[in-house]
Structures are given as structure tokens and as C-alpha cells.
């Protein structure tokens, strides 16, 4: 559905950060802020909750570990026990390396998967580009038009060192 936005465009992350915090005090509701590189602090300004990725990693790692150990034991001691070099069928010390590797394997790949999923990133996805420079050297604060009073915010941002404040309207696939 079509949405209208107010954009405040910056070219310096420090000014942006200051403005963002002021805007937070003013209870302006951010739609999002687009930056060419991570600007530390913006998360707090936008009140973004801590990422849940670490939990995904832990669980998936655990699963990997269990899968690895159980597979090795089942294959070499239950399904086909065979005397290899006089070693016991369950040679746990020998199973350690593979268990570790599979733990990492599961954890890493699943976490990446989760990351892409949570941020709806996938080949061919249409990016939200308000200004072609937003991935290069421009920092863009975005509010939904109906959420804020345009004149007020535009004044606010121009006072707080924005290069310009514009309106923009576009189809959003939500």
C-alpha cells in the first residue's frame, strides 16, 4: 500500500546522532533511519530491542552437538559395530573433533539463516531506497507522514543540521 514519508537527510553521523536523541525526547516516532555504516547509539535513540540471534546460535549449536555425537555412536557402535584397530566401538575421544565441527557448522549457518530471515534479506529483494546515496554517504531519518506534523519536524531537523527535509511517497510491500 502507498505510504507517505518525511525524510531528514544528513551527511555526518555525529549531527545525526545528536538530532536523533533530541527527536526521541520529542517523542517523534521513527519509521527507520538509513545509514551507510552502523552508527553506534542510534539503536538506543530508536529503542531497538536487543537482537535474539545469540539464542538462535546457542540452540542450534546444541542441536548440532547432539546430532553429531548420536550419529557417530549409532553408526560405529549400534548399526555396524566393527573392530577397527582394536579400539572400542564407542571411541568417544575420537568422536570429539567431528562433534565440535558440526556444532560450529550448525550454529553458524543457522544463525546466518535466522539473520536473513528476520531482516527479510534474500536475493532479488527490492531494497527501500529513499536516496541512492543512503548506502554511500547520506544518513536519512524517516518518519511516516501521518505519524508526525511535517512543518514541526522539518523545522526541528533543519535546526539540527539536516542538509534538507523532504517528503516522499512510495509503494511499500509490507
Amino acid at each position: 500500500m502507498r505510504k507517505n514519508f518525511v525524510l531528514a537527510i544528513y551527511d555526518d553521523e555525529e549531527k545525526l546522532l545528536a538530532a536523533a536523541f533530541k527527536a526521541r525526547e520529542k517523542k517523534y516516532k521513527f519509521y527507520d533511519i538509513y545509514t551507510p555504516f552502523p552508527v553506534h547509539g542510534l539503536d538506543d535513540a530508536m529503542d531497538i530491542k536487543r537482537s535474539i540471534l545469540p539464542y538462535v546460535t546457542f540452540v542450534m549449536g546444541l542441536i548440532g552437538l547432539i546430532v553429531a555425537i548420536s550419529t557417530q555412536i549409532w553408526m560405529s557402535a549400534i548399526d555396524w559395530p566393527i573392530n577397527v584397530g582394536g579400539k572400542p566401538f564407542i571411541s568417544l575421544p575420537a568422536f570429539v573433533p567431528i562433534s565440535f565441527e558440526l556444532t560450529v557448522f550448525f550454529a553458524a549457518h543457522m544463525t546466518v539463516g535466522a539473520f536473513l530471515f528476520m531482516n527479510k534479506l534474500f536475493p532479488g529483494k527490492k531494497p527501500v531506497i529513499f536516496d541512492s546515496a543512503q548506502t554511500c554517504h547520506k544518513f536519512i531519518v524517516v518518519h511516516e507522514k501521518d505519524a508526525v506534523d511535517f512543518d514541526e519536524v522539518s523545522k526541528f531537523y533543519t535546526d539540527n543540521g539536516a542538509l534538507e527535509v523532504t517528503e516522499n511517497s512510495r509503494e511499500m510491500e509490507s
Binding site: I82, N83, V84, G85, K87
Partner: protein, 963 residues
Amino acid sequence: MSNKDIYKTQKSEDQKDAYWQDVENKVLDPKALSNEFAEDEFDSFSVKKTRRNFLKIMGFSVTALPLTGCIKIPVRKAVPYLYKNDVVVPGVANWYATSYMGYPILAKTREGRPIKIEGNKKSIVTKGGANTQAQASVISLYDSYRYNSAMIDDKKVEWDEFDTKAKEALAAVKEAGKEIVLVTGESTSPSEIKVINEFAKKLGVTVVTYSSTSNQAILEANAQSFGKRVYADYNYEMADVILSFGADFLGTFGDDVGSSKQYVSRRDPKHKRGLSKHVQIESMMSMTGMNADKRFTRTLEEQRNFVLAIYAAVSSENVEGIKLSEDDKKLAMEIAKDLKNAGKNAVVVSDDKSSAVQILVNKINSALGAYGTTVFARDNEFVMNSNNSEFTQAISKMNEGKVGAMMFLNVNPAYDYKSSDKLVSALKKADMTMSFATAKDETSALCKFVAPNNHAFETWSDNQVNHEEFSFTQPVIQPLFGSRMASETLMSFAGISGSFHDYMKKHWDTKFYAQSKKDGEINFWNKTLHDGVVVLGGFSSELSAKNVSSSNSISKIKSMSYPKMAVQTYMKSAITDGEMANNPFLQELPDPVTKATWDNYVMVSPKYANEKSIKSGDMVTLKGKSHSVTIPAIVQPGTANNSFAVAVGYGRKVAGKVAKNLGGNAFAFDNGEEVSLKKTGEFKGLAQTQTHHSMEGRDIIRETTYSEYLKDPKAGNHKKARLVNIYPEHKKDGHQWAMAIDLSQCTGCSACIVSCSTENNVPVVGRQEVANRREMHWLRIDRYYKGDENEPEVMNMPMLCQHCENAPCENVCPVLATVHSSDGINQQIYNRCVGTRYCANNCPYKVRRFNWFNYDRGDSMAKLALNPDISQRSRGVMEKCSFCIQRIQEGKLEAKKERRPLKDGDIQVACQQSCPGDGIVFGDMNDPKSKISEFLGSERNYTVLEELNVRPRVSYLTKVRNK
């Protein structure tokens, strides 16, 4: 690739012939073969056969054989059995008692193809042993370089045409009033000799016996000492003290298998007569010398003076002017003392090429009273011993034009006669020349007529094995090529009708049956044929030593002069006189002494090599009076500083792909001839399977002396590693296979290697690949030197997969291609192997072999020798000793069929079976009464690299030397 063409057969003109070529594959297709046999069952006295079966077949075969023997009926298609015959059961081996080179053997045939040779346990001489040649003979049988029809002027002819033409030619010669000479090799076959003599009488042929490798001196000496040109038989089992002057009696001097059996029986410290004492005095390192308790490197001159000294001491006759150093004089006295103490239980053997020396040796032996206990000089009518001087005369006569025809039977003088050029020129003068060679050789190439003889396995014959034992040779396969038994050719020339089989049988009925009038002619014949051997006394009488005076021998010896550098020719235990040189198995067999393959070489002493800065592998030219060879040198510890040694049997000019132009021909050298050696500057290298010869003081081979052993049987074997397992061991119930090898019993003869290779289809890889250290033998014999490099002590150790209980190779294979069986065998699963080679790297014994390429198994012919029970390993696959798993399986099944538990000795692995020394024991270590348990319990038992805690299933018994 070098490995590709080693087996390829020479496609000479005669083989391009259309008729034979297009049916070749059909005839040679094993299936077709088996059916062919099915249709005309010829003799097959399988050891297991009952009398009924045998008679049934007999009736037919006696008449069928001459037909099948001579007429080739190519099989066009495989015909199913009309009546299932009970002789050839597909998948079940038939064993036939026959003999090879006169020695009794058993031939294992599958679907009618001989594929494996084993010794005949019934023989009192070989006692189940078989030498390298016999083991490898199956390969020669299928050698498609053999003649495949009678030839006249190098053109194929049918046999009857051949016979008429040949007879005419002979008649023509007679008319011209010229002499016909038949040159034969030495023979011990009563019937063959009879045929030859009859043939000679009929056509007035002069028979000349020639041998390139026999020691004429011994024959002459015996002729003088006993008035008969005979060889002596020895009994080393009775000998407490053995003194050998360069006689390689375990290898190429006389009957190797029999001697080894006797000799080795006395290397067992438990033997009731105790350990024999073996002193070897020689100028080159021989296989026998390696095994001596005391070995002395002495020049020929010194050796002869030793003979004088010892003769003087033993006969207490005063001999002046013995040229020996004081120490050597003392040494001679010690040896003489030992000999005298042993008295009739002592023996002196010498391979000296001077009859004067041999006469003295005879006198020493008779002075000791050895004749009758350890030495037997026997008179009998069944031997044709060589007399090369007669041959020389015949040649000169031929040069004068007096000899019109010369025929060659089992000899190849154009190659191995000293002055072969004389022979060649003489042959040009002859009107009729004929050879019986089985394959084209130097002589047959010069002959107008070629009547190819059958291979031993296609032949009827009989042999005198020793003074009392006789053996039979029976065909175990139809003639594969268009050849014909030489004796039958001679019969047809002599106009004797019937087959040689009948002839031989008649001879036996009249001659030998008369000896033992037991259970009827036919049964006597059958039994002999079935057993392969029969013991008949009374055919030979003890010769009484004439009293030849020693004085002129002594003066002869004293007057002998010696060159500064002399050459000594010798025979390699595998290649011998080169008659089997086209056999790749023998060529690739590492020489017991030098561990070199695919070559002959000049042995030089380390000292000489230092002076002349020669290193092994340098090409050198050895120049004699009339002859010179250019071959690699090898620095051989234990070679006398003033002598070189060269093996004969190489440098074949007319031979199959394998042998052709391999090495240099040394036959033209006289023994002790003056030679000069020059480096060509070229480096050829040697294809050796072992290049480091010191044990580096490591605890690998344990040994002790007899005196030590008598004090403490555990002597030299006290080291014991403290072994701990951090995890529980696997169950060890049921059969648990193990092997023990008695190092005192191993002479290093290498028969086990050939046996293993034929049994397990181990590929031949060729000279280059051996040089690349990629030989495939599953079993090798490690040979280490110790001490002074002029007179080193030599130790042999057969090394094969140790079947470790905690096998390091198994842990590291990612795909479980090598695992452990419940009966304790380290198994290699060929078709699971991906070839990471990690197992081989991690094998402390380095016994695993990798298929670096797809090794050529030869043409459709050579493939017939493959053992159908063993799969061919493709390239990229690891392989190794399997404890002959197929034999274990067979043994188990046999026992199962007979509803009885497996007995100890039911299963014999290939190497164990062929060992002439019984040094290898294999069996179930869970069976307390088994021989292996006894060996494992022995105080001398130990395992190599025990401290690694890999727990090998192959253990060794310390070597005991009688020093």
C-alpha cells in the same frame, strides 16, 4: 608406461599366423578350456581321486592322450556338459602329482588350468618343498612366446610333414657318410634316456651330453676317484660339521630343495643331533654363505690352500709350502679339528672348478669316512651326466665337415657355450640342424628344423630324484601350443610306434615293477602316478673310492697361478642358467643376497669400490681374454678384494620380451679368468627392493649363539616391553589365526615370495617401477649386514603384514577399507579402498602395497595363470598379505563338509607351504595343541617393534648361530 609393456609378448612372425591367432582366444578362454577337458577327459589322478574314478578315466585316456597330445582341435564354442563329469568341477581345484625339473610337485588346476605349484609331501627328498623355478613355472607354461607349431626354416609345418622332411634330411646325412650328433642336456629320466639311446642306436647317432652350468671338475674328479662320471648326493641332515668352499648348496649347487630341507632340519636347536656347524669359505657372498655360522671371505688361491691345509691335517699327510697367513693356518687347523671330531658326520663340499681340488676334497671326505653317511657317490644307469669336452670335439669335427647333422635337446649352446661363435660357424657347415626348444632361443634360431618340445606340465616323463626315489611327470593340461613331446619326436624318428606314455609304461612294467612285485603292474603304475613318487632301492650301488694319489693334485694346486683381478661366474637362485629368463616372476624376484631385480651386475668388494670410487649402479665394462660385458656394478660386502662376481643367465639375445637384452651374457667368462674393469661413466642404477643394509642397531632381528642357547634358551630374547591398554580388548574366541617364523630356519631362498605372488595374483611391475621402490610383493625378505663389511654377518627376516591386533592402519582409514576380522585377521577390502595411502604411511612395518597404476597382467595367455579365487586389484587400491584368506575359507569348508572340527595343519598358507625350510608356521593360537601354540610358547618367540603395542599376530623365533 614402463609397467605396461613388461608382460607384453613378442608378436614374432610365426605368431601372426592367421589360423592360430583367430582361434587363440577361444582356445585360451578358460571356460572353453574346461569344457574341452570335459569332452575328452585325459589322465587326471587328482590326489583326492578314488581308484574307481581313476580306472574309468584311465581306460579312455590311454588311447585318447596321444591324440589330444598331437592334434590340436580348436574349440569353436563352449559346449555344456552332456554328462556332468566328476573330474573337473568348476570352482573346485584338482591336484595332480607330477614333477618339475625332476623334482616331485603337486600342480593345482582350476577348470583345467594349472595355476599353482606346491611341493609333494610324499617325496622323501623335497618333503613338500618346492623351489622358486617350480613355483614360477606356471607363468612359463602360459608364455605365448613359445613355439606354436613345428617349424622348418622358420616356417610352420604340420607335424607329419615335419617328420617326413626331417627323416629324409637325416637319411641324406647318413648317405653322405657323415655323423649325426644329438646334443642333450643332463637327464635323470630313465624312460627318456632309454628313448634317446634307442634312437641313437637306430640311426647311429652320437649322443653328446652338454651342460653349461654343471661343474665338470666334480665329474672328472669323481671319474678318477670312483671311475664313474657321477655327481655326489649329500645328506646335510647327518652332517654335524659342514665345510663348504664356495658351494651354494642351498641355492644352485645340486638339489636346492632337498639340501635346504636337510640343512634346515639341523638349524633347529631342538634337533636331537643338535645344531650343525656350517663354515663357508668363499670369494663372493652366496646365499648359502649368508646362512653360514662362520663365513670367511677368501680368494680362490687362499681357498685352495685351505683345502691343502685341511687335507694335510685330516689325512695327516705332510704338505709343504701352504701359502696361508699364520691366522689362516690356525683357522684351517681349527676347522680341521672340528671336522675330525665330527668324523663321518662331517662333510666338505666345494664348487671349485679344478678337478685337482675336487680330488683332494673327495680324499678329505673319505679320510673323514663321510662316504655313506653324509656323501654318497652312486653308480646307476639312469643318469646322463654332461661331458662338455665331447661337445667341444663334436664342434671341431663339425668344422672339419665330418658331422652332417646336429640336434639340440634341452640345451641352448648358441647362448651358453663358452665359445659359441665357434659353434655358430660350425653349424653353418652342417647339412641338418634341429632343435627341440619350447620357445625360440639362440640355438633354435640357427636351426633349420625346430620340433618344439612340450612344457613339463604337458609332458609324460619319469625322473630319478635321488639314489632311491623316482618320480613321475604327467601332463596336467593339453599342449597349449602346437608342440610335441621331444621323446615322441625321437620315437617317430626311430620308428618306434605308439605314444611315449605307452613306451614309458612298458619300460616301468619291465624295469621297475620287477623291483617291487607289489599288487600288480597296473596298481603299481597307478599308485606311483597317483603319489607322483615311489621309492625303489637297489638300482644303484655304492662306488668304492679308488686310491688316487694326492701328490699330483697337490703339486697341480701349488703350481697354479692367479691373476691380479679374477672374475667368478655364478648362478642366481632364481634365474640360474637363463633357461627360464623369460619368466617375469623370476626376473622380479629380489636376489636373496643383493636384493636386486631385473639385472645381472658385477659384484665388487667395498674396498675395491672405494679405491676406484665405484658406487652401486655405475655402468662398468668387464673385459676378459676374448669377451667383455657392460653392466652395472654393485658394491657387495663379502666379496674378495681381488675378484669380481657376475651372474650368468642374462644377456639373452633371442628370447621373449621379458628376457631379451636384459643384462649381459657372462657365460663366456672362464672361472678365475683375468679381467679388467672400467667405468663407462654412465649411471644406470639398480632396481633393488632394499637399499639400506644396516639394522642401525635396532632391536629387529634377535639372535644368539648355540652355546648361549644351551645355557639359557631365552638367550638374546630377554627384552620385554611393558604394555598397557587404556581400553578393554575385543573378544578373542573361536579361531584366532597367527603365524610364527623361525629365523634360524630361513635361508632367504625366496620361494615363499614367488609362491605368495602366484597364489595371490600379485602383479609384476617391471624394472623401472621396482627402481621407483614400488614392487608389489606382499611378502619380502629383509636382509641386514652386521660387522666388518669384508666379512659381514648376514641376517634374513621374512616381513609380511603382521596382522596387528591394534592395527595402526585400521584407525586411519576414513572409509573403513581395512578392518579387523573376528578371527584376528587385518583385512583389506579392495573395492572399498579409495587410496588415501594413509594406512601405508602409518604401517610401522611398511608392508602395504599400493597399485600406482593398472598393472598389466599380460596377454590372454598369461592371464590363464591367475588364481580365480583372488580378485584383481585395480589402480588406486591398497593391497597386502591376507593370511591367504581364501585358503582359510577353503579349509573351513572342507572340514565343514566332512562334519569335523578344523584340525591343525588343515590350512596351509602359500608361503608356509612352499618354504623349503619349514620356517613358517601358521595356525589357530586358540588351539593349545597346535604347532603355532608351541611356537608362540617358545622361549625364542618375540614380536618385532613390540613396544609400539600394536600386538602383531606374526611373531619370530630368535636366530641361533653355532659360533
